[in-house]
Homo-oligomer: 418 residues x 2
């Protein structure tokens, strides 16, 4: 049985609305029909398993309730869907247990807060090909976070300009570099030319130092065939990683790519916020991320502590827990990628609040490239910040004999965002 | 230039937040970086073109504003993205102009209300293969709406049970029959067996009467390769239509399918509501539907008048206008599909409010199969309702010498939903 937990909000009856989800999302229509027999219902109908009341809402999440429609009752409702009714196809699961619910009248809020998949889903999808262990193996980084950066400005550089910056970043000692997620293959920077300009620098550095920087190229394309051609360009040039915009290409795009992929798939979730930002509507990340992990993303961007975006720190912390908690076994976990406004200053809190682990990719854009002493100092500052975090030494103390960290603290430490 | 209109809501400065969208979604990051030169900005940076103030919001759409953060200013803001910065890839457009915006801090609401694509998009995508003209040609229906029905119960029937019902529906004279969107290929009704059970009835009826009922089989699958196998099963058995759950399979799934498809693609948008139901958040349908029409869906479900769902009639009317308004020329229009709780009673208002056209697929589930005199009478009742609507005759008057319509009015006419 597939169990979905819905957080419902309604001026009506919680019980009736829970039953309505179960009925609408399986056998029912707006009038009784011949053929909807008790035997059929017993076999495929969804069932309300549990209702756990919550405090009433003060404001309707969807502004559809009249002022006198109070109270707005809330509850967490578990609904079980027989596996036979859905199977293990994720698009069927999305359509049946998720898709239709948001259209149902009578709710003023509806959010999916949990999803428990049965054993039948174990092995039904490829899952991550590389994940955390593969990312560590390919970058050669152990015992500390993989430290990454993003080529900035996000858009507008021509391939030779990007490659020049990448050359500097490579010499900075960084482990991982990525295209901004907004960069795919525009006319001014076709992927083919960007790969041709960048990969020789990566390979040359590897020849000289033995260290292969992981570069994530933006290969997303609406057309999966084109995306595979992009994938092949990267793989054939010796690259080992790709940024994919999972919401934009959709489950079909990701499934198609993963079946054929030789690259580490770095998932950017842009667009996700509209599905989660209102706390009474949409999805919790812990639900939504399960789809993409089963499909097989290796690295999952989940913001970080003190980000420049709307997302609160608590939400990042629970996302981190989500992607690192096995669905079936630990091979289905994704490597968490903390990013946005990161510069090292958030290392202690990130470390403290995520189970004192260094198994993450810590991504600093401006925090590295805008370090006052240049990107190499930026990388050293971030590494120092993590050393301090792991050793439980305050950054200010550690900075006393680590000048790069001291410079970061001075430049970026004024506020979380600055 | 690609022009996107954002309806923004913020306790801060409208001008500053508009500039923030333009900067974040093109060249910017959280600190100035080397390389973000004036020349580069001029070439690829997004620009605020126009700001049209709206009345303040009373309640924040996202509950992120403190009580003293008032007023909550609102405006429609046009932002232009240079075509060179994005190109014509829809996943790039989605990522750059849409994806990231919902993460920006400082908004309490953000909705994309318009999208104007430049000429470069003309011909960049296949668009509908069949659309309205192809749907008319294949069903042989002219001068009135194509009348369709849905096999109910939605889930649980085995192939021979479905086929038995379909046999009845075929003899009812209906033009179009579809699987419920929730039915794809579950263990109890594998698509292959369903096709094998149903198609002979369709073809036999065609042999006998010359009328080929269009049957839309649920072919959606997470894996585009599997979906193509489903497509081929239908096409090789002589079928000509498929239901696809566009949100679940994503743009990649639809693009992959459309390139190879020989079937009419009937788009179900389940999941869409979460993106549009809150008026201050997400998308207007007129924006979102452009993506799927360019990708090439032929028929687009858009609810109807007096539906059982939350969606108000006005929203349906503007969706109808959206899918029937050319983006570049009329071949890129989709056939609007009015459905949900329809039984004929909504024909006059549907006709009156959608430009007095009969170019639509009018989909009645329970409204046909639960007609007190059976589905054939249900189809006749719906046809009669449309005759009355076109002739401007009140349904009650027309029902006097049309007993099937009279029976529908008696059974379903008590309220819009009954």
């Amino acid at each position: 049985m597939i169990v979905v937990t819905y957080r419902i909000e309604t001026p009506g009856s919680i019980e009736a609305m829970a039953e309505k989800i179960a009925s609408d999302q399986s056998t029912g229509t707006f009038v009784p029909v011949p053929g909807e027999t008790p035997e059929l219902k017993a076999r495929v109908a969804a069932r309300v398993l549990d209702i756990r009341p919550l405090a009433d809402a003060e404001c309707p999440s969807w502004p559809e309730a009249a002022d006198d429609q109070r109270p707005l009752c809330r509850a967490d409702v578990d609904i079980g869907f027989p596996l036979e009714a859905i199977g293990t196809d994720l698009s069927a699961l999305m359509t049946i247990a998720v898709g239709g619910i948001f259209s149902i009248r009578g709710f003023t809020g509806l959010r999916i807060v949990d999803l428990k998949l049965p054993e039948a889903f174990r092995g039904a999808y490829p899952g991550p090909q590389f994940g955390m262990p593969g990312s560590r193996r390919l970058t050669g980084v152990e015992g500390r976070p993989i430290i990454g950066t993003i080529v900035k400005p996000a858009l507008g550089l021509r391939p030779h300009e990007t490659a020049e910056l990448v050359g500097e970043l490579i010499s900075s000692g960084v482990d991982f570099i990525k295209d901004d997620e907004k960069l795919m293959s525009p006319a001014y920077s076709p992927l083919k030319e960007r790969v041709a300009a960048i990969m020789p620098k990566i390979l040359d550095h590897e020849q000289k130092t033995g260290k292969k920087v992981m570069y994530a190229f933006g290969i997303s394309h609406t057309d999966p065939d084109e995306m595979m051609r992009n994938h092949d360009l990267v793989a054939e040039a010796g690259g080992n990683c790709a940024v994919i915009n999972i919401n934009s290409i959709g489950m079909g795009g990701v499934a198609f790519l993963r079946k054929r992929s030789r690259l580490v798939l770095h998932a950017h979730r842009n667009g996700w916020d509209v599905l989660t930002r209102h706390p009474g509507i949409g999805f919790d990340f812990r639900v939504w991320q399960q789809f993409w992990r089963l499909l097989g993303v290796d690295q999952f961007q989940i913001n970080g502590i003190g980000v420049k975006y709307w997302e609160p720190d608590d939400s990042f912390v629970s996302s981190f827990e989500a992607v690192t908690t096995p669905l079936f076994d630990k091979s289905d976990c994704a490597l968490p990628v903390a990013g946005s406004g990161q510069w090292g200053g958030q290392a202690p809190e990130t470390y403290r609040r995520t189970g004192r682990t260094t198994d993450l990719l810590y991504l600093c854009g401006g925090g590295i490239v805008s370090h006052p002493q240049g990107p190499a100092a930026g990388v050293r500052a971030v590494t120092q910040a993590w050393e301090a975090a792991v050793a439980d030494i305050p950054l200010e103390t550690y900075a006393k004999d680590h000048p790069e960290l001291a410079a970061s603290l001075k430049k970026f430490g004024g506020s979380k965002e600055s």
